[in-house]
Amino acid sequence: MPNITLSAVSKSYGGGDHAVKNLDLVVPDGAFMCLLGPSGCGKTTTLRMIAGLEQPTAGSIAVGDRVLDSVEQGVYVPPEKRAMGLVFQNYALWPHLSVRDNVEFGLRMRKVPGPERRARAEAALKMVHVDAAMDRYPSQLSGGQQQRVALARMLAVNPSVLLLDEPLSNLDARLRLEMRAELKRIHEESGATIVFVTHDQLEALTMATDVAVMNEGELQQLAAPMEMYERPANRFVAEFVGSPPMAIVDTGPAPGGLAGSLLRFVAARDPEVTPSAVGIRPEALRLGAPPAAAWSEDALVEAVLPAGSSWTVRLRVLDTELFALSYTPVRAAPGDVLPCWTEQLHLFGADGARLSSWDRAGVTA
């Protein structure tokens, strides 16, 4: 099965505003790629362009050697001829057809004969565990069941490219957890290439093999999930991925206070590096006696917010507010002053792009 290739794809609606700007993206064969970004970043538009429901204003889209869209060559393949699968955010089940007929629809369109059609529909419904509701209508199903039927409808035609547009966003937390595992299993079993749109970083981190972070129509970073978390390509990615978000301290022309302290620390390790911003992830910020190699300052505890399995602590360090996230109980009360430290800093240049990071191993690119 082939790669999906987007080359220099742009999409604008009428005026000068671009929903997608000059996007180059290759989805490798068999990948589970997440398009991640805040709402309005162009991720859904990108997905719909791959499906053929929207048309780019420039650039081309191809699956393997087959060109699906090319503004330059005047090629356009309509969605019904692309043989892909798409699950919509609101499922878009047809209300006038039973679950079975919903799932069989695509097979009918492909002229699959009756007995085989029924067998395949049943198999697809069994795969997502809604075969018991086969003869019901969509309005009689719960949200989770509708979602599964939408998945089954797509899986029944066995497409090699599966597109999913925030399919889990309308589910409650427990179902979402269940469906994540389910989707991962389906990906492994079917071997299909999946493009998955979400604004939920947790979904992206847990399911994807590749994550493409987008913002304002532009690709920010394309990387494996953990790579993206550990080495964010720029400030946007650094702040978008991670919860609570990474604290980023601008150094400015005359760095004092916290920025000064961090800069002095970095300069002592590698004089070559001159970051204009330094980032600290809350989970990398610890309280208590610092190890020898760590950066450390005194912190005033302002509030302790327990959340069951973790504790968020609001600190004031050299007149700057910082958050620390701890997975062990925090023995501190508001008003306490105690040292905070970290062994991991993210360094960004003046243009916001990642310069390097520092951890116990030293400064690395």
């Binding site: 009428g14 671009h18 420039a58 090629v75 019904e80 089940l93 047809w94 394309l222």
Partner: protein
């Protein structure tokens, strides 16, 4: 790892390339083509008649060369002069204008008082039999508006106009002219027809006011009086102003009532004046009058929309507001009920029973002449134009068949066109086409029906290019009726499609279904319900329609409504009343059936 920094806007391929790509896309998506066809049709059926009537108003017509001293077809101010400044302009325009205003203001006041009061009674008080009253008081709106005028004549007619006199005269009471004809009866009968309209609009608004808004004021220390004055009434203003303007708009275009009650006393309003001019074949004058009516209609609706927009900020969407809290009338409960019941009796029972009774006696009120002849006799002596009972002969059945056929087809066209317009709008592949369709399909709403009919006559009465003269054909009737009801069906079509969204179709597209398949298997099956209501609502209102069709029918294309008006012209009171009763029965049955079946309320079909 790919990192993009902020770039310049991406380069666009050359225009020719983009066009080629766009054509490829259009080839696979017929929405734009469909939209274009609809645009051409609407432009021809909606915009062209208006242009035609405008041009007729300022170009010299055949036959007027001598008076105007110009050649036919030349630009002329002759008709404008004739209507606005000449010696007969008082007769042609200013008199009817004043009369129209009098009737409109009177009707509005009457309807507002009655409808507003009744709305308050059934929505905000614990009057006994609230549910029944709420349903019963809307019935007058289901009857053709001139039912009341015929009933009025049957009661109050005096000897002045000739023919049979009314019940009162035959009982020996002299009814003066001012009571039998002219502004007073017109205002009362129109008011009786339009008060349910006010009741529905105001009642809905009253029901939608969030009780919490009133409670907040009470808690802050405002006495009941102040709450009503400072909170409830201001919140009601949009609904009230809307009701006022829409009633004025309708009165402006209404024909039947002023024709029946005004003509015997030479009391002309704009709509009857227009009718008269067309009948006299003074096309130029008629065109000027039609244009004036169109302009007033447009102004009214624009004012309404402007007010609505300004008052949009008042809209309160109260989740819990739906819970009823009813004012306690205490000792006034039963008197209040009696008042509601009286309104029902006066606006429904008396007119209908009067009409019924009149068809059963040869001489009014003389029970010794009780007879079923007017319904079933083979021969009726004295009635030359209609020499047998209503149910005998072919006239009624032919007219009924024509009504069903013409109105039915028009409604079907209307509903399908409405859905297709909704489809094009929602698909969004052609935003400019969608915008045009939205606007133009709404245009007939601004134009009183009688003026639109006049405009259509201007365009279609003579052969133009490849289109033959359509005057007197069923085809023209169907077209005009469909177009005048298009605003409602396109509104509801757009709403239905919006609610559905485009995803269901896109899902089918992804599943591999062609456009034709998607329409047949997905869109239309899902929209079955919307299609049915889209057919039924125009159908019901079309059955009662007189203003639009009165100028377009000929003896060959008689409808129930025009048949009845024709019988009024002949002076066959019993027969005319009988036919109107049939229409009322048909329209009432269909409305209540539809309401029961679709659980939709009449209010949604009002377009208010």
């Amino acid at each position: 790892m790919a990192v993009l920094t902020k770039t310049e806007p991406p380069p666009r391929p050359p225009r020719r390339r983009r066009l080629r790509y766009r054509l490829q896309v259009l080839r696979h998506d017929p929405t734009a083509a469909l939209g274009l066809i609809l645009v051409v049709l609407l432009a021809y059926l909606v915009v062209a008649p208006l242009i035609a009537v405008l041009s007729d108003a300022v170009r010299l017509q055949f036959g007027d060369e001598l008076h105007a001293g110009q050649q036919p077809g030349e630009w002329t101010g002759y008709y404008l002069w004739r209507v606005f400044r000449s010696q007969i302009s008082g007769l042609l325009f200013w008199g009817p204008l004043v009369n129209t205003l009098v009737v409109a203001v009177g009707t509005v006041l009457f309807a507002l008082l009655l409808g507003g009061g009744m709305a308050w009674l059934v929505t905000r008080t614990n009057v006994p039999g609230r549910k029944w009253l709420a349903g019963a008081l809307v019935v007058p709106y289901m009857l053709p508006s001139w039912t009341f005028s015929l009933a009025w004549l049957t009661l109050f007619k005096n000897a002045r106009a000739g023919g049979q006199v009314g019940f009162l005269e035959s009982a020996g009471v002299r009814t003066p002219d001012w009571l039998a004809y002219g502004p007073l009866p017109i205002i009362v009968t129109l008011g009786l027809h339009y008060y349910p309209f006010v009741l529905l609009l105001v009642g809905n608004a009253l029901r939608r006011i969030d009780v919490q808004l009133e409670d907040s004021a009470r808690i802050l220390g405002a006495p009941r009086r102040v709450v009503v004055r400072r909170i409830v009434v201001p919140l009601m203003l949009p609904a009230l102003s809307s009701a006022v303007l829409l009633v004025v708009g309708r009165v402006l275009g209404t024909f039947g009532t002023p024709y029946v009650l005004g003509l015997p006393a030479d009391y002309q309003v704009l709509s009857t004046g227009l009718f008269q001019s067309i009948r006299d074949r003074s096309t130029g004058v008629a065109s000027v009058l039609a244009t004036v009516i169109v302009i007033i209609g447009v102004l009214i609706v624009f004012t309404d929309m402007r007010l609505m927009r300004e008052q949009r900020r008042f809209v309160t969407v109260g989740g819990k507001g739906a819970m009823d809290r009813l004012g306690d009338l205490r000792g006034w409960r039963w008197p209040a009920f009696a008042l509601g019941a009286v309104v029902f009796v006066v606006s429904v029972l008396i007119p209908v029973l009067t009409l019924l009774l009149s068809t059963l006696t040869r001489t009014p009120l003389d029970l010794s002449t009780l007879t079923l002849d007017y319904w079933i006799a083979d021969r009726l002596p004295g009635a030359v134009g209609f020499p047998h009972g209503i149910l005998r002969g072919s006239e009624l059945w032919q007219a009924a068949w024509n009504s069903l056929r013409i109105v039915g087809l028009a409604s079907l066209i209307c509903a399908v066109a409405g859905l297709l317009i909704g489809y094009v709008v929602v698909r969004g592949t052609a935003p400019r086409i969608a915008g045009f369709l939205r606007q133009v399909s709404f245009l007939p709403y601004l134009i009183p029906g009688i003026a639109f009919a006049a405009a259509s006559l201007s365009l279609f009465a003579v052969a133009r290019g490849p289109v033959p003269a359509l005057y007197g054909t069923t085809f023209l009737l169907i077209l005009v009726m469909a177009v005048t009801h298009l605003p409602y069906s396109s509104r509801s079509g757009i709403a239905a499609m919006m609610q559905l969204g485009r995803e269901p179709e896109e899902a089918a597209q992804i599943a591999g279904a062609s456009w034709w398949h998607r329409m047949r298997r997905i869109i239309f099956p899902i929209q079955k319900g919307a299609l049915v209501t889209g057919i039924v609502l125009p159908f019901i209102s079309g059955l009662k329609e007189l203003s639009i069709v009165v100028m377009l029918t000929t003896t060959g294309t008689q409808l129930l409504t025009t048949l009845s008006i024709g019988l009024v012209d002949y002076g066959y009171t019993q027969l005319a009343n009988g036919v109107v009763l049939m229409i009322a029965l048909l329209s009432f049955t269909m409305t209540s059936l539809t309401q029961r079946l679709t659980k939709s309320s009449l209010a949604s079909g009002l377009g208010g």
